[in-house]
Every structure is written in C-alpha cells, then in structure tokens.
Amino acid sequence: MSKAVGIDLGTTFSLIAWMNPASGKPECIPGPYGTTLCPSVVSLDVDGRVVAGEAARRRLLTQPARTIYSAKRLMGRGVEDVEDELKIFPFRIDPESRNVIRVRLGDRAFTPPEVSGYILREVKGWAEEYFHEPVTRAVITVPAYFNDAQRQATKDAGRLAGLEVLRLVNEPTAAALAYGLDRAQRGRVAVYDFGGGTFDISILKLIAAGEGDIYQVLSTCGDTHLGGDDIDNRLLDLAREEILRDWGLDLAPHSQVLQELRKAMIAAKHELSDAEETTVRFLLPEGMAYVRRLTREEFEALIGPIVERTLAPARQALRDAKLKPEEIDEVVMVGGSTRIPLVRRRVEELFRRPPHVELDPDEVVALGAAVQAHILTTGVENALLLDVTPLSLGIETMGGVVAKLIPCNSTIPASAEELFTTGVDNQTGIDLHVLQGERELARDCRSLARFRLPVEPGLAGLARIEVRFTIDANGILQVRAKDLRTGEERSIDVQPSYGLAEPEIERMLIESIDFAEQDFAVRQLIEARNESESILRAAEKSLADPQSAELDSGERARIDAAIAALRLASEGEDYRQVRARIEDLNRETMHLAELLMNRAIASALEGKRVADI
C-alpha cells in the first residue's frame, strides 16, 4: 500500500505531511525550494503548461492575467456569491460561468476545483519526490465553516489531482489532533486560527476514553475576510500615506513598486515578532529612500483594531459551546499571524491562560491531517474525530420558509427523515429544494441542491415518500428516498446547485489522471536519466584509470555490457528500466571501485609512518 498523506489546502499556502514511522511523529515534507510552504498559486504558461506553487507565485507580477491566487475563496461558490470577493481579489471570472465559476487564465478557463487540483498535484509531487513512489491517498483539511458545496468542491479537487480522498477533516480538529495526543485528559480546547486571509475559532472537547482519545467539536465561528493580509495592508497604507505626504509621490500606478514595498513591510512585521523595533529601508523611484523606524508599540497600536476583530467570533464560539472563557483548558494557536506577540497576549487575556505555541503554527494543520491519514489507513485506533456540521440543513416549504431538519453544530454523521406527499391529484413528482443556513427564508440560505421525487400519479395526499438526508463524516450530503407504499428504495440524483456535475468531473478526471500518472513517470524518467548520466561518466573515468588493467577480461566485458545496456535504457521512456540498469552497472563495477579505492588509500598512506596513521 502506498503511503497516505495529510494535506492542508490553504488559502495562501498549502502543505503536505506524513507520519514518519521512524520518529512516530508527523512531519511536513519540504519542496524543491527547501520550504514546506507551497504558495496556493496557479499559473498558465504561454505554451499552455500549468505551473503551481512557487514557480506560479513568481509569475504573479510578470503574468498577472495568467496567474491566480486565493482560489480557495471561490471553491463551491456561485457567481453571485463572490461579488464581494471580486472587489478585493482580481479574479477574472469567465462571463459564461453559471453555477460553477470559471476563472480565466490567459486563453483558458478553469473551475476552482481544477485550480486547487493543480495545487494538490504540486504538493503530491513533493511527497512522491521524497518517497520515490506514487502517492494516491490523502486526508485533506477544510475550514470548519465550509458548507456542503465547498466540501464537495474540495473532494473533487482531490480526485482531479489523482488522490483518493480518505476524509475531509476540519482544520481546527486537525490542529488539535497534531497537538496533545498523549497529554489528552478530559479537557476543552480552543483552536484559534489566524491565517493569511481568514480567521477561525473552534471549541473542542477532548475525552480520554478507554479506547483512546475522542476529539469532539462543540462549536465553531469565524470571519472569512480577516487575516494577516489585513495587517500587511495596514502597514502598506501607512507607508503609502507617508510617502505621499513627504514626497507627494502616489504609488498607485506603480504596481511593481507597491509589491516590493509590501514585501518590505511584511519583513518588518516578521521582525517585530521578536525585536522591539526595526527600521524599514526602501528605495523609491527617482532615487528617494523611505526610511522608517517602527517600534513594536506603534505596530501594535496600528494593528490593534484588526486583532480586536477576532475576539467577537471567539466569544460567540464560547457562547455556542455554552462555556465561559475560564472553562477552557487548552488554547492551540494556528496560522502565521499567531506569531505576533500582540495576538498571543490578547488570546491569553481572553482565555486567561497562555496558548500553546510549541508546534509551527503554519504546519500544525497539515501535521494533524497526516495523523488522521495514518489512523484511517493503519487502523491504529488511538484517536477518533467527532466533527460537527457548521450550518443547519433544511428544506424549502410553502411560502419559501425553511424547515430545519438537522441543526447546526450537530455531530456528524447526522441524519433526518421527512415524509412527503402530493398536493394535487395526479401529480407526477415532488420538487425538493435542500438548503444550508441559519436564516428563516430560503432566499437567505445557501442552496445545496434541487431534485424531483418521482411519484405514481394518484389522488392528492396518497403518496408516502420518506426521504432520508444524511450528512456523512466528511460533512457532505447524501439523499435517499423510500416509497412507503411499495417499500421501494430509490437513490436520488442530486444535482448540486453549486458544483460540478458527475459527468463534468468524470471528463476532468480522465484528463487529469492521465496527466497525473504521466507527470509522475516523466519526473521519474528525468531523474533516472540524470542519475544514469553521472554514473556513466564515473564508470568511464574509472575505466580510463591504469588500475582498471587489474580487472580480468570477463569482468571488463560485463562492465562494458552493463554500460551499453544503461545507454540503451536511458534513450527509452521507462524509468524503471533505467533504474534497473543503473543497479546492474553499480553491481558490475563494485570490484573496479574497490581497486580504485585501495589505490587511493595506498597513495594517501605513502610516506607516512605507522605511528602517524
């Protein structure tokens, strides 16, 4: 069985982790740039190739029309949902988008699950590189507040990346899982997740049961437009205002300079996490220099209001969990913004205890996902996650009113049954509209799906159709119907209101899985060829050495044959062949290597007395 990984598919960064059996601990896997953070950015090359991660991030400035970031904000959403996002994010929505948004990159249009699929495939590639074997199974994390459509879109993205999605896990639950598996006593944990673009707070209950630890989510709350980006913007605004004031220079038209200035301000923000003060030095066009000393005190006064905005959702989550702040036993910090001392102080004041900061706040969610992947694939049952559904599930009834079937914060899986009948004679079907949300009227809730229950024509009120709505352990809706008069069970073809229909996914899948396998094979082939080249060079160099004369003729012939075989294999397309011939050549040259080694040692020892050795 291939290794199962955990992936944190983030708004700004994504990470991949696995459970290292050697250490018994989850570890994040670094990519080619040495960091474990993969920018959640995708870009379309001029030659039609899609690149993701750091390579795509570098194109944000040079190829903005072909590059997309923060695509997570579009997952599972319709065009009318994202009007607010469009004011903040430069998404180029394809005018032909209907219930699924399509984003234009150059001359092509992509759905958000496809974009996320490319990011997933990028980090999957990191893991394959690391393990030297294909990766096919993953646990992917989602924000706790994600609705059905957003979860479904995430699952689709996983499938498009050639991954079997073992489970979608809520990010805060994953964070709690990454922490404290063994210190788990009965306790209540607050997970405070202040990331790049979003803020989330969840209250969990940790129960040490006989069989292991149970993580039960009690409540969750948040703000989808509150994050480190707001802090960066505040700092950038400060610099822009001062530059305008001092030199009358408006940076608005200089997007490249603004981007560089933002970087400088972010660097200052990072420094102020440790230092009491820092100085920004930034070269402006026309040779002017913006030099600004910034103390932590001033920084905190600037960002204070932003940090304050996290406290209201935190209090709401406590209320929903029916807990007082002092009843929280542990606080876990997630997200890069929790490195800011002011954030830590405010959280400590609210919960009256210092938060946990032992694990890297950027990595903690991916680490937890890796733990869950390990649990699911090995059957090592030492922890169980009981997540909740963040939104109430209901159906539209007469007058556009929503009848709630499953209340929010219910532990999942959860289900509800409703009986339906016909309202007029000879009605042939009953139309159902499933919604998610807390509001009274259907138009204020989130449409999940519409479908039609077929009915045998007859007198009004005679039909008895029992419909069972189930929210599975991923938080995704399943619907089944049963005709109580005939006992016949029907599966229902639920057409998601926002999301890809099955045939579309199938088509994308066929394309992407082909690609995924090719991707892996191509990468392996390139690597094997590189390795082959260097070993061939080494072999030839060794054969040119006078020492090689000591080989007997049979040995020499076998080495020559192995070299020829490797050359031939390297011209082919099968990386396995190349690897096998590399092994052969290694084996055949073992004696030659020894001869050379002995000579090297002998010459190194020449002229030295035994006592010097």
Binding site: E381, S410, P413, S415, A416, G423, G461, D472, A473
Partner: protein, 247 residues
C-alpha cells in the same frame, strides 16, 4: 419553490422508524447467523444494518426517562468508537453504509436522549402520544389571568417604545414586567419538578410491568406537563426579548 407539501408526521403506527436500534430481526447479512446485541453479529462480528428498536434500545437502555447523563455519555462514546465510519474506511460498501447509518442514528439518538425534555418528547412521539414539533399553544386555564395581564403590559411597553418614550416613563412598567418574569420563572421551576414526578411515574410503571392503561395515563400526564412547560418557557423568552429590546 416546493410544490410538494410537507406531510404532517403521522403517529408511530404509520411510521417505519427503521434507523434506530440494534438487533435487526433478520439473520446476519454476512454469515446468516443469529444477530447479536450491540449492532454486530455475534457469530462473525460483522456490522449489521440498523434495526427498529428505537433510541433507548440503541444504547441497550430500558425505555425509562430517568437517565444517568454520565452513563449515557459513556455508552455514546463507546458506540462511537465501534460504529464511526473511520473504522470502515477499508471495508466493503455495504459495511460502510451500515456504519454511516448507524453512526448517524447514534448521533441523532444521543442528541434526543441527552436533554430530559427532548427525551420525554421523543418517548411520547414514539408511542404516538405526541406529534413531532407540535405543542398545544394554549394558555393553561389557571394561568389565563396572569397571561392576559402580562400581554397587556407587553403591549404597553411596545407602544411606549414606538412613541419614543424611555427611561423614567417606562421604568415602572419594566419593573412590573421584571417581576412577572420572575414569577413565571418560578412557575417554570415548579413545572420542572412536576416533570420529574412524571418521569418517576413512567419509570415505576415500566419497572413494575404495568399495563397499557397505567402507561397511557403516565404518558398523558407527561404530555400535558410538557405542553404547559413549553408555553411558560415561550412566555419567559418573549418577556426577556422585549426587555432586552427596550434596554
């Protein structure tokens, strides 16, 4: 727009409550053996589809209203461990479906039985005494006078607010309402005590193997207390809301 009507939930006789218990009456789907207790086959150990024994039987509890919360939680967690879909990721589709249905039924059952009021409502619904989500919203006769007075005060407060008067003008009215709220909260406590007595009556009837008549009487009493309780609770909530609006 939905063209179908939501059909009022019928009594238990019409309802196939198939998603709520262990011990299905049929043989094990895997080995054909006799189904064991606790949702798994006694012979081959395979997970079984949900039976129809109801929420109490799901936890292997007698159908009694006095429930030890900690004991219920222990049973819930133990069953969660066994039934959760995480345990069946590598199992066949049939077993995965059984796990999904059983664990959702488990969560539903736990939610219903945890809270004493919803527990009693569930019991009455299962026995067809009460219809889901339906309560009689009539004032109990002995409260008619007080309710009438309270509603008048609430109207006064609303019209005073609409007329823009606050502070001193409404403070006397607010005090009266506050007093009434306290009086009704005391009544609520009294009703809760009555509910407790109703629980004990039902449990005694169940323990003593009482006949249908005695059980029916106990359920009718519970139903009446629950209706009264719901009425008073709504009253307290609406007074609280009005007072908060005015603040």
């Amino acid at each position: 727009m939905t063209s179908g009507l939501r059909f009022p939930t019928p009594g238990i006789d019409e309802r196939t409550d198939m998603h709520a218990s262990p011990s299905p009456s049929t043989a094990c789907w895997n080995c054909g053996g006799a189904p064991g207790p606790g949702h798994f086959c006694a012979a081959c150990g395979k997970i079984q589809p949900p039976g129809d024994g109801g929420y109490f039987a799901f936890f292997a509890l007698p159908e009694k209203l006095g429930v030890d919360r900690e004991d219920l939680e222990r049973r819930y967690l133990a069953l969660s461990w066994k039934l959760h879909p995480d345990n069946f990721v590598r199992a066949g589709e049939y077993e995965r479906n059984c796990s999904l249905e059983l664990s959702s039924a488990l969560n539903d059952a736990y939610r219903a039985l945890c809270d004493p009021v919803s527990r009693a409502e569930y019991l009455l619904e299962r026995h067809g005494v009460r219809k889901e989500g339906q309560t009689k919203q009539q004032a109990p006769p002995e409260l008619l006078e007080e309710v009438f007075e309270l509603n008048e005060w609430l109207d006064e407060l609303r019209s005073a607010r609409e007329a823009g008067s606050r502070g001193a003008e409404t403070s006397e009215l607010r005090e009266r309402l506050e007093g009434a709220r306290q009086a009704f909260e005391e009544k609520l406590a009294a009703v809760d005590a009555e509910l407790g007595a109703g629980f004990a009556e039902w449990d005694a009837a169940t323990d003593g193997g009482a006949g249908d008549a005695a059980r029916g009487r106990a359920m009718a009493r519970l139903n009446e207390v629950l209706n009264r309780r719901s009425y008073i609770r709504n009253l307290v909530a609406s007074v609280t809301r009005e007072l908060e609006n005015d603040a």
